[in-house]
Structure formats: C-alpha cells, structure tokens
Amino acid sequence: MITAERKPMEEIIESVRPYNRILLVGCNECVTVCAAGGRKEVGILSSALQMAFMQEGKTLDIKELTLERQCDPEYVEELVTVIDQADAVLSMACGCGVQEVARRYKDKPVYPALNTLFMGAAERQGVWAERCQGCGDCILGLTGGICPVARCSKRLLNGPCGGSTAGKCEISQDVDCVWQLIWDRMKALGIENRYEEVMTAKDWRTSRDGGPRKIIREDLV
C-alpha cells in the first residue's frame, strides 16, 4: 500500500491560514490503514486546527468528509455537493488523491495535509517499511523475493557493498542490509550459486526515468 505521514501542524496551519471555510477530505484506503488520513485522523486534525485558530482569536469553519477512494473520479465526484461551501480543500489522501481533487475542481485551491512516503508493508503494529519502488520491471524472481531496488540504500543490483556489517546497512543500525537478507534467503532456497550471475544494467525506462507512466487496458477502456 501507499504510506504517508501527516505534515507538521505548523505547515498545515500556514497553508489554510488565508481561509475561513475549508473542506477537510480523508480517504478510506491506504492512508486509513497506515493511520495517516482516514476518518479518525480527519477528526483529530479538524479539532486541532479549530483549536489553533481559536487561540489566535479566529474561527475556522471545517467540513469533514472521508471518501471511499480519493484517487478515483467516481468518489471524488461526491464532493460536488459541498465544494461550494468551502474556500479551499485540505486533503488527507496521498498525493494521488490530492491531485484528483485538484483535477476535478479546477477553481478550488487544494492543499496536502500529508507527506506521501512510499509503497510498503506493515512490519508490525504501527511500523511500516518500504518494499517497492515501482520500477516497472520486477526482478523479485531473481532476488529471492526481496527487492534491492527499493531496499538497498544504493539500490545495488549486485550487492552487498563493503559497508554491510552484522546484517545492517552502513547508513544506519536501523536499516537492514537487504543483500544480507537476499543472501540468507538464497541459501534457504538453495539457489546461492545463482548469486554469481551478474545482474546487468537495468533499463530504467519502465521506471520514473522514462517519464510519467500510464497504463491503458484496451479490454477495459
């Protein structure tokens, strides 16, 4: 899923300071799961903003709404009945949701309340970690199901580098050396002899380097 974190309160306050009425829009998908922008977080942010404005002797009229999927035009359309009652939208979706609202409501300023971070998985309660960079040409079949593109700090396809120490990356004790994990996994699968095959230079065209990407499924269009 896509993970995100709420922006610092001061930054959010600054972004909505010029407005009296805002529409605070959450999303029921990824950002709900990672507890950043679901219905609950919308409620918390709404109270916090109202309190902050009150302390400055101002009032802020906030309408709260959490859409099923903010990256989907079908659900973003639901804002049509309330959009005119707001001077601006504050979105608690990932960057995709923010942009979908901006695309649909062209004359309405939209501000992000979250920083969108990465595609990841939950490691345990309250901990999410990066797993995929969406390079567009998956190599997990060659690396024991563990991705060096997303999880090696230098995205080395023929790692580990000389900084791998006791299973950790040279940049931090909190970061696993992904090539240690890959090696361990290759051994568990009995395919460690494949390690010596050179993984050749990657074609990054399928990644962001090839320009913004789009999927067109003729069978569904």
Partner: protein
C-alpha cells in the same frame, strides 16, 4: 596486453605492484594535487585519484588525473556510480582516455549520508559491477553500454574494490567471482588489519583458482595514532581493526605512535608478500602521503621496476 597501462605491465612482469592514492583538494588548488603526486613519484607504479571520497565535494577525479598525467605520472581514475548516470560516466571515461589515462577503479562509492551533501540525489544508475561490465564492453567490444559503436574505444585496465571484512563473510569470495565475471582485471582491497581473516579469504580465493583470473592488491593504511585506530575500529563501516593493533599503538608514547604505525604497516606487507595470490600493495596513507616512500622502502618494494 589489453591496454597500455603501466600497472598491467608490472603485473605481467610478475613483480609485485605498488599503488598509492591521492585525494583531490576541496577547492581549485591544482598545485596541491601535484605536490601530493610528486611525493609518490618513483615509489609507486600508479596513483589512485579518489572520486568525491566520503561523499564530500572535491576537485573531480578526472581533472586531478589529468594534472597528474601532465607531470608524467600514472593516475588510476577512480569512478563512483553514486554521482552520475551512465551517460556521464561513459563520457568521462572517453575524456580520461583522450588524456592518456588508461587505468580505472570502479566503485559504488560511499552513501551521500556520510558526506557534506546528505540532501543530494543518489544516482546509482549502475552499480560497481555493472560499471566494470560497461568499461569492459567499451574496451573489448568497442561499444557503448547502449549498444552503439564507439569511435576509437577507450582501452582501460579495469580495477574494482573488495572488502573481505564486510558481511556476510561467506559471500565475499563469491562477490569477487562476480566482479571477475563482469570483467575486472585487478582488485584493491579494503585496508587490512585482521591478517588472519584476510588470509582465510585469500585461501578461499585461491581454492577456486580466482587468483589466476585477477590481480589482487592488498590494501594497507598506516595508523597515525591510537586515536585513528580507535576511530577506524568503531566508526568506519566495514573496517575490521583487531584489539591487538589498538593495544600496540596505545603501548607506545604519543610521539612514537606514528612510527609504530609505519612499523605495523611494513610488517603487514612483509607477511602479506608470502600470501599466495597477493600481486601487489595499495598503500592508502590518508593525508600522510609523505610517508609512502618510507613504507615502500622499508617493505623492500623499492626501487620500482622500470617499465617501458
């Protein structure tokens, strides 16, 4: 012979090769490069020129290599894949070769996290193994990485690094084999302090006959002080400094520590000369280049062979 590299010629002569390194200055100070290189003149076969080492901005390796070449010495052009993509790397390789530079060292480089621009984008279009593969393709096939023909392809003698002290240890021989598969000609190792561990790694290398496929140069860095030894032991990733080294330096007065450090380095070289598969020494005297001649002489590696 694959190239005109002096280093390749020394290896082919069967003699132990000696290299050292010169870190370019953090400013437009060409005289500093020349001053450092001249300290090494006659005592080494070639001089590595580091490429934004420790992820700090410095004079470019290419520019410093050209300065060294212009005074008649032989630079080894270090290139890290951290700072530029395959277009930039290949154009710099052609540029280097156009200035008569014919020896390279291909590295991934320290992560920007360690340097003075931790906010920089981290390129890694290629990794070090893929850079080796690219340089070999340029030389042996006369083709760019993308497949087009090169007009007068650069003939580089290709080096890479190996760190037998990083984890997982059991993978480190396989990693060398991988670099050999990619086309590496010579290897310079991480600084060696844990002799037993290095010898175990070399045994693994020789058991597989890899020593016949690549020239391995043992990395030597003299300790200036016990403080440096402790720093290297505790703070430098992938460095293995046994307690006995720290104790030995701590056992002499502060004034005598530099000399003790040199003594240790010379003893290491003497011992490593006996290790099968070691074809030379890479002496990295960090900001202490003036001591390299003394180490080379005391280790019995002087004079250097006359190579035509």
């Amino acid at each position: 012979m694959k190239t005109e590299s002096v280093l390749e010629k020394v290896f082919n002569s069967g003699q132990l090769a000696v290299t050292s390194e010169c870190g370019p200055p953090r400013g437009a100070l060409p005289e500093k490069v020349i001053e450092k290189a001249k300290m090494l003149e006659g005592y080494v076969d070639a001089i590595n020129v580091t490429d934004n080492q420790t992820a700090m901005v410095r004079m470019s390796s290419l520019a410093a290599c050209i300065l060294i070449k212009q005074i008649g010495l032989d630079p080894i052009f270090q290139m890290v894949t951290r700072d530029r993509n395959r277009l930039a790397m290949q154009s710099d390789i052609i540029g280097a070769y156009s200035h008569g530079i014919n020896t390279m060292l291909c590295l991934s480089g320290d992560h920007p996290h360690f340097g003075d621009h931790p906010m920089a984008a981290n390129v890694y279009d290629l990794d070090s193994v893929q850079l080796v593969q690219t340089v070999r393709k340029m030389r042996d096939e006369g083709k760019f990485q993308g497949g087009d023909d090169i007009l007068n392809p650069p003939k580089m003698f290709i080096g890479a690094a190996a760190n037998p002290f990083a984890d997982p240890f059991e993978l480190r021989v396989a990693r060398l084999a991988k670099k050999i598969n990619a086309g590496v000609d010579f290897i310079q190792t991480q600084c060696i302090y844990n002799m037993a561990k290095f010898e175990t790694w070399m045994q693994g290398v020789c058991d597989r006959g890899l020593d016949k496929k690549v020239h391995i140069m043992a990395g030597i860095t003299p300790m200036k002080s016990v403080g440096m030894a402790r720093y290297m032991k505790n703070r430098v990733p992938g460095m293995d400094v046994p307690d006995e080294i720290v104790k030995r330096l701590a056992g002499v007065s502060k004034k005598e520590q530099p000399q003790e450090g040199i003594k240790i380095a010379v003893e290491q070289i003497q011992r490593l000369k006996e290790v099968p598969g070691v074809h030379g020494f890479h002496i990295m005297a960090i900001e202490w280049e003036q001591k390299v001649p003394e180490i080379v002489e005391k280790a019995g590696l002087y004079p250097r062979p006359e190579i035509k």
